[in-house]
């Protein structure tokens, strides 16, 4: 079982990211669960969301405590290390959003990857909606689902042009994510 924890802020599509990943896994015939963590539903407030993916039935129903993968959608949250690094295992990986990935540093020695989701989102969507580029980056790094499955999930979630631009963002996120040394 692979456990993912998503960090973002209200309005950035954090919950949607986790949902799209779970749906992509379900399309592949896997078992998955998306668990949103609802605090006060305010734009800008820190939000967490969890995804589990497995080849077997998932019966546990609590939030992810020891994630294999942490995705930080909002770059300003990197400053809150106690939250981002909470419960990480030695071999957990972190994928974060950074405006200058080639100059980014690994977080506290964890295997880290960065992608400039800000520029991808602004160029393709025209608004700072980072999440689809970040899911693309997650799939690009880990391959936990196929990119086509994720695109199918995006197409079912959004319609018409909105689906097309989000799929573009997914593909660019997958292609442009780099390992941070």
């Amino acid at each position: 079982m692979i456990e993912v924890r998503w960090h973002g802020r209200g309005g950035q599509g954090t919950v949607t990211s986790s949902q799209l990943l779970a749906n992509a896994a379900i399309y592949e015939g896997k078992y998955a669960i998306h668990i949103p963590e609802f605090g006060p539903e305010r734009r800008g407030a820190p939000v967490r969301s969890y995804t589990r993916i497995s080849d077997e039935v998932i019966e546990i129903r609590y939030g992810v405590i020891n994630p294999d993968i942490v995705v930080v959608i909002d770059p300003t949250l990197l400053a809150y290390k106690d939250i981002i690094l909470a419960g990480l295992k030695e071999d957990s990986i972190i994928i974060f959003n950074h405006t200058d990935p080639s100059n980014a540093k690994p977080l506290e020695g964890y295997e880290s990857y960065a992608v400039d989701a800000y520029h991808i989102a602004m160029e393709i969507i025209g608004r700072p909606i980072y999440n689809t580029a970040m899911i693309g980056a997650l799939v690009g790094v880990t391959g936990i689902v196929r990119l086509e499955s994720l695109e199918e999930a995006v197409r079912k979630r959004f319609s018409g042009v909105l689906a097309d631009i989000n799929i573009k963002a997914v593909r660019r996120g997958a292609k442009e994510v780099i390992k941070v040394e």
Partner: protein
Amino acid sequence: MNTIGKQVRLGLNGDEAVAYAAYHADVDVISAYPITPQTIIVERLSEFVYNGELDAEFIAVESEHSALSAAVGASLAGARTFTATASQGLALMYEILYIASSLRTSIVMALGNRAFSAPINIHCSHDDAYAARDAGWIQFFAENVQEAYDLTLIAFKVSEDKKVLFPSIVNLDGFILTHSVEPLTIFEDKKEIKEFLPDREAVNKIDPSNPITYGPLALPDYYMEIKKQQAEAFNSTPARIKEVFSEYEEFSGRSYSPLKKLYVDDADIVFVVLGSTAGTMRTMVKKWRKNGEKVGVLSLTLYRPFPSREVAEALKDVDTIVVMDRSYSFGSPGGQLYMDVAAALNKYGRYNRLINAIYGLGGRDFTPEMAEDMLHATKDPSIREIWVGVRG
């Protein structure tokens, strides 16, 4: 396994799954208050109606009291009737809960279990389900999104059955099931379910050309006889419920029974639980078994009528029973489920050691660490009640 209806596997959250079930049941009337603490269930149904996919009357009322009142009228008029609510909404329906069951309506209500105020919370507790426990509604508890879908379909068939004619509540844990996306298998379309759930044939339905009285006055000379008849009728429903479970299994390939047992038969310690935490407890118990702990889990799919005989039979030789309540019954000898289990055991002459574990109130995440705390508590013979995972 003889699957009749064509099915499709997809990912949905609990709200969407229940909305699909009501849609596939081809409901005639949806009566609901659409604002907080309402879930997305009725919003999805209103879309089905608006899009023309579901030929139903959607009555958006001004309160939950009116939502259930309108549902009572619709059900007595012969309509397949659905409503949904949660926490405070159920509380506002309270007066009508008893009327709906005592007039023998066939309403199906989804209850996204949420905590009662105060403080204002909206997250998962079983306060609302427990508040309705004495009202004469059949109550099912879903442990996952698949069960929320299946039990909603089962509830329509049960409630409309001429041998039953009592309304049903399908409980699904607020947020934990209503908002989580999981894979499930649903019927491809409403026509696929028609054979299991044909159009409703109502009994004594309201007919303007043949007027009869509903809800008449019954003073001390008759009230008690009427209640005894109602009690006997209600207590006889499990036989038919079990038949409907079997019919649904033949039709869907998924089996249901009033209670679920894991490793209960040879267990020294059994945890009794309702709703989504059952899966977490099964996972924990499997882990503890590997360490040599003789532990088991008993969860109830049918909460009302309470399957007393089956529960007592399952637990009769267990040393320690931990009954988990996601609510608190102020001033009572124990939590609501605790009292049910204690009474059921007593009825069959058993006096096992019982511990009441209060957990998960107001959406407090129930973690493996809390499960470990409960197991630990069983080792101390002086402990009879624990509040799990609470500070101070």
